[in-house]
């Protein structure tokens, strides 16, 4: 896929929230505690969901700022200029 190799390295932050959910949830399941009044596993998941939103916001900001030198994705004809 031409152009894909030019994707900036900061985009890897996107894998953090999924990892926190898929790897973290089984570990969080071992903690039998209530945090803020809710089961630890549920609190962990909610934190991951909030983290997802934060990481996506950061990614959007970085993509918009750094869009010029390295095109974020393979440019396609007819793509809108934003």
């Amino acid at each position: 896929m031409p152009g894909r190799s030019a994707a900036p390295a900061y985009r890897w932050i996107a894998v953090l929230p999924p990892l926190a959910l898929l790897v973290g949830a089984p570990l969080a399941n071992r903690v039998h505690l209530l945090v803020f009044g809710v089961p630890f596993l549920l609190a962990w998941i909610v934190a991951c969901v909030v983290l997802t939103s934060g990481v996506m916001a950061l990614l959007l900001a970085l993509d918009r700022r750094g869009g010029e030198p390295a095109a974020p994705v393979a440019p396609a004809p007819g793509r809108e200029i934003d």
Partner: protein, 488 residues
Amino acid sequence: MNPALLVIALFLAIAFALGLWARRGHAMSLEQWAVGGRGFGAIFVFLLMAGEIYTTFTFLGGSGWAYGRGAPAFYILCYGAIAYTISYFLLPAIWRYATRHRLHSQADFFVLKYRSPALGVIVSLVSVAAIVPYLVLQLKGLGIIVSETSYGVIAPWAAVWISTAALVVYVTISGVRGSAWTAVIKDVMILAVAVGLGVYLPVRYFGGYRPMFEAIEHAHPGFLTLPARGMSASWFVSTVALSALGFYMWPHAFASTYTARSEDVFRKNAVVMPLYQLVLLFVFFTGFAAILTVPGLKGADADLSLLRLSKLAFPQTLVGVIGAAGLLTALVPGSMLLLTGATILAKNVIRPLAGWADDRDVSRLARALVPAIAVLGAVLAIYGGTAIVPLLLTGYNLVTQLAPALLLSLGERPIASRAGAMAGILAGEAVVTALTATGATLAKLFPSWPSAITDLNAGVVALAVNVVALALVSAVTRDPRAASHATS
């Protein structure tokens, strides 16, 4: 008619009126009816997508599973977050291609990418097969709402037929613009109702979240963590991963990306949608509050828990408002599912087989198919005994099989060959069908294997078979136009 049903009927009338009002000034061509003329901005697409994603499944199924299963229900909150992360990268790519080629449906995408009308027919049949259980669960949910809020006057089967009729009328008069407007009301209502119930009920019956969860843990030790066997951590992780992968493979979710005005819409949505998902938290709280207050709902009846507790806690008028919110959470996605199913059957299955050229024939057939699919859904909703969540899991297993062929087609040219894509999908679906029909699980097939493996969602096996078949067949067949492609 009791006050609760009156309130629900009032909201149904508002939904109908909005459907009629929203189509004013737009000629109802196939494109206008199905993809809203591709003029929707971030807020509208957000509402459409939220409208499809926050369904009866989340409202009644989410509370029902928290009530009946406990911690395994949390999976519902996880897969969306991962899917939105994927959407940031995936949807702009889909949108650019779909917009450039003026595509209508998910199958169009496969047809053009792989230059294969036959693959389009296969994908369409898979889509429709997956839509059916999803539609069935919406009708089941609608039936539950109407029969529960009638306080015993309307039998569940009659409630399903009434709901089906309402849904068909709604889809026929409105199309996608009606869905988006009704989604606005629905979202405000479901937000208010879900948060209201999830805050009020635990406080009223237990004095807060901590006492509620302590009481549940005391009465059912281990209910608030994943069990060691069955719906264990293995099940949880594999189900979250499969569902996240399948999230945008749903034909209606896929095709609703076509309604966006620009690709930036999806990146903004990826920021907002995960937070919006937290509504589910309050739905879980409601289900948990019902465990000790309305005990004894077994199996599929756990889906009734939210309404049973509401009836215990509130006067009839308020129960009507809760029921109306539930009605809208079924009506909006139900209409999208029906619309998508009918459009796919008409345009991507019957049209290529019959060789029609005229768009108007296809459009007319799509409208005629709406009631036919709805009746099939109603019959299955009445005679099938499954709870809401397992219905969706079946649909997900069907639809996730499209993911490998789709993901491998996103580059300039597909990495898989045409025959490879077909072989992968057909092999994956064959495994899903066999597992679903026989009720087989890995734990039953291989009882001596460690539970960390046998608890895996059986969809993992289907996906593995799919990928192997795709790779093997792609290795020995090569599409003529892809012959020069270095990475194939």
